[in-house]
Symmetry: none
Subunit: 415 residues, 2 copies
């Protein structure tokens, strides 16, 4: 079944408000196994709403509209629907009483234009609004369905699953097929390189669609399998995943939606290990990412952003002559930072970064983007050198990524 | 002039990615005084792209398309444009060389499918991409204009103002001569509240258009004045700015494009002051934001993410009995953290945060979102309590904002 989305509002045309309803509705509809064919947005304008509705009904089996159901003069969607399909309007007395009761309950002053929200085109099936005053409605026109719900995101997010989807299911009960999804997250290859490695896989023959989503510095692959039977969809998805794994295993760090820091959180928690971090070029970003995970205080003991040499010397006991001889950006300093922070924090692990984020501070020997990351566990310290070529913020981001990736690999290799 | 927007990508149909480009483009176009008539989104599908393009060209004078210009197999926009308008494709050798040079410069391995990004429909005017590999292009068809730029938001945000709008201006020169812009950044009021405070200002009579850009947790206001004379535009812009200032002065922190951390950087550098930070609930985010500014090593000495109580006690000399008695989240701890980090770092200033980012860890007395931030200068220590109600990441973000805001106000109040 093909679905169209029409979001209505002058604020969408002026860009004053970003249309978050479209992506929410598209996601929910896709998860039902239905296909979103097209999304449109128009202003609060009778002619535009009417024309776009007719276009959408030509292209799809059902149209979901949001916005323009409020009490003010520029809320014209209900009247626009009535005009578009040549239907008279009527007031639903029960709905009107419900709105009045709601006003009384919350001690809001009753203003007559709120009665507008109990007016519907003839034949409308009312959709209850559990979190606001304006109800929505469904219409059957030309054997197709048109839904109208408010544009307030919190109301859309309740009324779509609770009101719209059940009515859609009632009208389109036949098994429209099963949809299964698998996200695979990679790091270390550009989008083009990921694509090239997969170019010989015939996803179409497997009944699987593939999407590439760069989320700097990662590249995510999303596989979607559709089939009449759930078993078949599962089989196809697995096969597609195996093909991806065979070609990209060195770069895959997650099957699913987990972030890198969430994977690390699960590993540290399960293995009952604690961690401290000493950062220079990443400037607190590693600690910030680690503490984005709820419950991180269980394993994350502390983080030191030792930006000055003095801080590296006094807090981490990096010998001054090492920094003098080799500079703050070198393998020795990275190692000593990881070992130092582990020691003073009395944690199982110490993770460090030192480098030149840029755009200034580079030299011929150590250009901007030179980064060392190190991990110490008390028995051994591993250190890796990287050379990045991004701007300051992205150099910081990719440096935090290689540090966390080093930690993740260590944890997963550990029995 | 009427403009249509067409965003292209399967990820928009599946709802995997929210379409933020549409609202950005709509805002920028509105600020130019042009009218966005309709926004559409379709998947990476030849037939859909072609049909929607034809629909849009019927309704508007120019169409701005984003997405589907990457190197991968599902990036079909360029070919779809060529097919829609029956134009042959050609490789622009200069653009190809530019892409190859970019790969060489950054030491990326050249992969042949990147050459796709140098292919254009005949007659295309290339639009330079200053922040990525895929250029965009403009086509003239049926006396109308079609623009295609990449869908990566950071690229759209550069290429629209720098590439698309100048070409639009060339084709649709405005009768009025001068355009002046002023960004005003606010913090502390929601978008709706900002709007409400300005509702009685008649920007139209002042010849000024106004746009609202929520950039969590800030709200930015953009004023654009247009007039035949530069003097008049300047006068109108100043008048509009005065009206905004009169209503929002308590919440304005910047007139211009500078970020909060850049304002702080300028103040600290000018006043030759140094800073150290001790963070708990913000988990490194304050340090990360401060070090996003190039040259921050001049004033940022170190940051400590003292996540555990032990770290607060051993590194910052917060007495154990204070934490025992009042907990780690309290005014006393915040003050002692700011004083402690200032002292051990031997800096002029110490800034701290402690709180409960959530979603767990709250109690009846100290619910999730309770945050204390403190600033110590050796003579006095100021501390402020806040109660936020966001999710974990946004609680961290708004906490870093109030800490930095406190620092900024201190620096600007200082003679």
């Amino acid at each position: 079944m093909k679905i169209g989305i029409l979001t209505i509002g002058n604020e969408l045309m002026s860009g004053r408000i970003a249309d978050t309803n479209s992506s929410f509705i598209a996601r929910e509809i896709s998860l039902q196994g239905w296909q979103v064919e097209i999304v449109m947005s128009v202003g609060d304008n009778f002619a535009a709403i009417k024309s776009r509705l007719h276009d959408l009904l030509t292209l799809t089996d059902a149209v979901i509209c949001t916005g323009g159901l409020g009490p003010t003069a520029d809320d014209i969607t209900t009247t626009a629907m009535a005009r578009a399909f040549d239907l008279p309007l009527f007031t639903d007395e029960a709905v009107l009483q419900g709105i009045k009761d709601r006003f009384a309950k919350y001690h809001f002053q009753w203003i007559e234009n709120n009665a507008k929200q109990a007016v519907f085109p003839r034949g409308a099936e009312v959709i209850v609004n559990p979190v606001g005053t304006a109800p929505g409605f469904a219409l059957q026109v030309r054997g197709k369905l048109v839904f109208v719900i408010p544009g307030v995101p919190s109301e859309t997010q309740r009324m779509l699953p609770e009101g719209v989807i059940p009515i859609l299911r009632r009208h389109f009960p036949q098994p429209v097929g099963h949809t299964l999804k698998q996200t695979i997250k990679t790091f270390g290859l550009g989008e083009g390189a990921v694509d090239k490695k997969l170019v010989d896989v015939n996803f179409e023959d497997l009944g699987v669609s593939v999407g590439f989503y760069p989320v700097f510095p990662e590249n995510h692959i999303v596989l979607i399998a559709r089939s009449d039977s759930r078993e078949q969809a599962k089989k196809n998805l697995q096969k597609a995943q195996d093909e991806v794994t065979a070609r990209l295993s060195d770069f895959i760090f997650s099957y699913g939606e987990q972030t890198l820091e969430e994977i690390i959180a699960a590993e540290l928690t399960e293995k009952k290990l604690t961690l401290a971090v000493a950062e220079s070029c990443t400037g607190g970003l590693i600690a910030n990412r680690l503490t984005d995970v709820s419950g991180s205080s269980v394993y994350f003991e502390r983080g030191l952003v030792t930006y000055s040499n003095e801080a590296k010397i006094s807090m981490l006991n990096v010998p001054a002559d090492i920094i003098e001889k080799h500079g703050a950006v070198c393998e020795e300093t990275a190692r000593l930072m990881a070992e130092g922070v582990r020691k003073i924090s009395e944690t199982d692990l110490g993770l460090s970064s030192t480098g030149i984020a840029g755009p200034t501070g580079g030299s011929k020997e150590k250009p901007v983007g030179t980064v060392y990351v190190a991990l110490a566990d008390g028995n051994q310290t591993v250190c890796r050198h990287h050379a990045f070529h991004w701007d300051r913020k992205r150099n910081k981001l990719v440096s935090s990524e290689v540090a966390l990736m080093m930690l993740k690999n260590y944890l997963q290799d550990k029995a």
